[in-house]
C-alpha cells in the first residue's frame, strides 16, 4: 500500500513501490489527463509536478514520491493564466501531449515569470508534439506571461 498526496488529496493505492507513478495516477487513481507517450522520459507527455518540479512520471517509481506534493494537469486551476492563454490561442490539435506541455509551462512560469523566449524554447524543447503546435505553445506561454503581469 502506497500513500500519495495528489492535487491536494490523500490516496492509498495497492501497488508495488516500483510501479511507475504514471500508471498509478492514470489507471489506479483514474486521473487520465497525464499521458503515456514513450515510457522512457523522452517525450514529456507524462509530466507532473513533484514538489513543484516537472517530473516524468513514466520513469518515476511511485515509492520514491510517497507523501510528496504531486500536481497533475487536473490540479492546475482553470483560471490560471497558462490554461487561459492555451484556450485563447487554440493551441491543442490532437491534444495528447498538451497536459504535459501545460504542466511544464506552468512550472516554468512559476519559477521564472519573466523567462525569455530563448529560455522558454530551451525548456519546452524537452516535450514532443507530433501535430507541430510548437509555434502556438511559444505564443501561449508569452501570452500567459502578459496575463500574469496584469494580475501582479
Amino acid at each position: 500500500m502506497v500513500e500519495l498526496y495528489l492535487n491536494g488529496r490523500h490516496y492509498k493505492v495497492d501497488v508495488e513501490e516500483d510501479t511507475p507513478l504514471l500508471w498509478v495516477i492514470r489507471e489506479h487513481i483514474g486521473l487520465t489527463g497525464t499521458k503515456f507517450g514513450c515510457g522512457k522520459g523522452i517525450c514529456g507527455a507524462c509530466t507532473v509536478l513533484v514538489e513543484e518540479n516537472p517530473t516524468r512520471s513514466c520513469i518515476t517509481p511511485v515509492g520514491s514520491v510517497k507523501g510528496k506534493r504531486i500536481i497533475t494537469i487536473e490540479g492546475i486551476p482553470s483560471y490560471h493564466p497558462v490554461k487561459r492563454a492555451w484556450i485563447e490561442l487554440d493551441v491543442p490539435q490532437c491534444g495528447y501531449c498538451q497536459p504535459g506541455q501545460i504542466v511544464e509551462a506552468y512550472a516554468l512560469l512559476n519559477k521564472n515569470p519573466r523567462a525569455s523566449k530563448e529560455e522558454i524554447i530551451s525548456v519546452m524543447s524537452s516535450h514532443l508534439c507530433r501535430c507541430g503546435t510548437y509555434g502556438r505553445i511559444l505564443k501561449a506561454i508569452q501570452r500567459a506571461q502578459k496575463l500574469m503581469e496584469v494580475k501582479a
Binding site: 510501479t19 507517450g37 491543442p92 514532443l128 507530433r130 502556438r136
Partner: protein, 705 residues
Amino acid sequence: MITRRDLIKLGGLGLGLVLLPEGFKLVKASENPQIKPHLWASITKDNYLMLLVNKSEMGQGVYTGLSMIVADELDFPWDRVIVKSAPARDVYIDKKMGSQLTGGSTSVRNMYEFLRLLGASVKEMILESASREWKVPKEKLQARMGYVSYANKKVSYGELWEKALKLPIPTQVRLKEPSEFIYIGKGVPRIDTQEKVEGKAIFGIDVRLKDMVYAVVERPPYFGAKVKSVDDSQARQIKDLLDVFTISSGVAVCAKTVEGALKGREKLKVEWTKSPLEGFDDERLSQYYLDMLKKKGVVARKDGNPTLLLENTKRKISAVYLLPYLYHATMEPMACVVDVKEDRCTVYAPVQAQTWTLQTAKSITGLPEDKIEVYTTYLGGGFGRKSNVEFVKEALEISKKLKKPVKLIYTREDDVKSGWYRPMNATHLEGALDEKGRVVALYHKIAVPAVFEWAGRPSRVDRAAVEGIENMFYEIPHVHVEFVKVDLPIPVWFWRSVGSTHNAFTLETFIDRLAHLGKRDPVELRLELLKNHERAKKVIEVVAEKAGWGKRPMYGEAMGLAYHYSFGSHVAQVVEVSLNKNTGEIKVHRVVCAIDIGPLVVHPDLLVSQVESAVIMGLSATLKEKVSFSKNGPSSLNFDTYPILTMAEAPQVEVHIVKSDGPMGGVGEPALPPVAPAVANALLWGYGIQINNLPMAPEVIKSLL
C-alpha cells in the same frame, strides 16, 4: 434520441441531393433524403444543440469545422453546441467515400453540402413548428441565434424541438447566401480546446470500464515471423497476471493491472519462426530497393517518346533517390478498450475507420452488426495510422477469449514494431532540356510497395506509388512514369500525404536541378511549365512575392522553393535555410506557404493550424526521420532512436491563403509534401549540394560539402 431501429432502417439510402450552382436558392431534396435530422442533431429543452459528427477528431479540428457548418445554417449560438462522435452505422457513412472513414483530406469537402442542408432543414422544421403554434405564416418569422421571434413573441429552438421533430422533413429548403454566414468563412473557437487543456478529453487509452483487464502483446522482432513456442512459467509468477495466450499477431499477456501485464511480458520467453526478412538490415534493404529499380515495371503514363529523346540529347541529367520507411509516431500509441460478450460487443477506440472497425468486430465475434457498437474516442494523433484497425482486432481477440472488457495498450516499442510505415522507395529520374532551356523530357521510375494493396484495394498501378507525378500539372512533351512493385512483408500504410511525401521530393528537387542545368530561375521555369494552370501559377507567384524571392533571405543564408498539388489543393512554399559547414547541421528559419483550396475556406484559422502542423511534420521527416533496420528487425523503437522535430528546431511558419474558382480542396495533408524539396532546393542553390537520400542527417550533409 437515436434508436437502433432508426439506424438500421436508414442503412444504404443514397444521398440523392444535388446542389445547384450559386444563384439558385432552392435545393430539391430527393424522395428519400438521407437527411433525418434526429439521427444527426438534437436540441435540448434548455437550448443546447447536440450534433453527431461522422469524422474522427485527430487534431485537425474536424469537430469544429463540421459542426460550425450546421450551426451556421441553423443560426445557432456557437457556445451552446455540443459535439459527439457518431457511432459506426451505415447512416453515418460518408457517401462520397463509401465508408465511415476520415482520411484523404476530405472531411469538409465531402460533408459541406450535406451539413448545410441538414442545418437548413432543421431550421425549416423549427420555423414550421413555431408557425403552427403561433398561427403566423413562416415567412414572417425570424430564426436567429437559437430563437424564433415574431413581434413581441420569442421562443427557443429547444422548446420547439420536440414538436418540430414530428413534422415532415422538408423537401425544399433555402440555403443561406454567403453574405448571411455567421461562422463560415470567419471561424469559431475550437470546440475541443477546453477539455484538452483541462486534461479531460478522453482518448482511446483513457477509457475505463468496470472489471477491465489490461493486455499487452509481445510481437515478433521481425515482420513475418510467427510464434513457435511460448514459455510463460516465469511470467505467470507475476502478481496480477491473469493469462498468457497466442493471438494472430503474437502473444497476449493479460493482467489485472497494466504494470502487471508489462512485468509479465518481460518474463516471457517466446521462440519465433524464421522470417523471410531475417538479415535485412539498412544496407541490405537499400540494395534490395535499388535492385528493384532495374526490374521492368508497369507504365503508368507515357507521352511522346522520352527514351528516344534522352538518348539523343546532351543537355540531360539523371538521379537515383532512396527514401526511408517512416513511422507515424502518433503521440498516443495504439490503444483501445473493447468488451466482447456472448450477445454483444462494444468498442471504444481512437480510429479513423469506423466501418472497417465494425467489419473487424463482426468477423472476430460473429455477431450481427446491430449487436456491435463502435464508439470513437479522441485520437492522440492519426496521420493515417489509425485508419488501420489491426490493434482493435487484437483487443477483440483477447476480450473474446477472456470474456472480459480489455484495455489493450501498445508501448512505444510495440507501436514501431507493429509496422504500417510510409513505404521506403527508390526512384530513378532522367530529364532533358532543349537548346532554349525548356524541359522536354522526363523519365520517372519508382520502386515502392503498393500502399493501396496493403489496404485491400489492389490495382495494376498503385495510386499512391505514382500520385503527384502521373497527374502532375507540369506540361512536358515527353513523359514516362513507371511503377515497380516492391513485395516485402514489411507492412506499409497511408502516412500523412501518402505517395506525395516521396514523389514531391523527387520531382521538385529534380525540377530545380533541371533549372540549374539550364541556368534558369526555378520560379520562372515552373511558371513556364505551368503556363496553362492558373491556380498552380498563382500560389507560386504569391509565395515568391511574400517570401521576397530573389532578394536576400531575412533569417537564413539560402532560399528554396517547391510546389505541389495534392488532395485537391495547390501549395507552394519557400524556405529560408542556413547550414553549419563544420557540423553539417541544417537550420530552417522560415517557411512561407501559399495555399489554394478553392473559393471557400470554412475556418481560416483551422486551415492555418493544419498548414503549420503539416510543415512541422514534413520538416521533421526531412531532417530527422527514418525507421532503421538491424539484422534482427526495426531498430528505431522509441524517440531516442527515432527523433522527431522539437520546438528549438521549428521554423516560423507564415501562411497565405489564395482564393480561386474551382472545386474545394483538402487541408490536412497538402502542405506537407513541398517542405522537404524546398529545403533540398535551398541547399542546391545556396551550397551546391544535391540531396538524394533522406533524412538530411548532419553527418551525410557534411560528407557532401
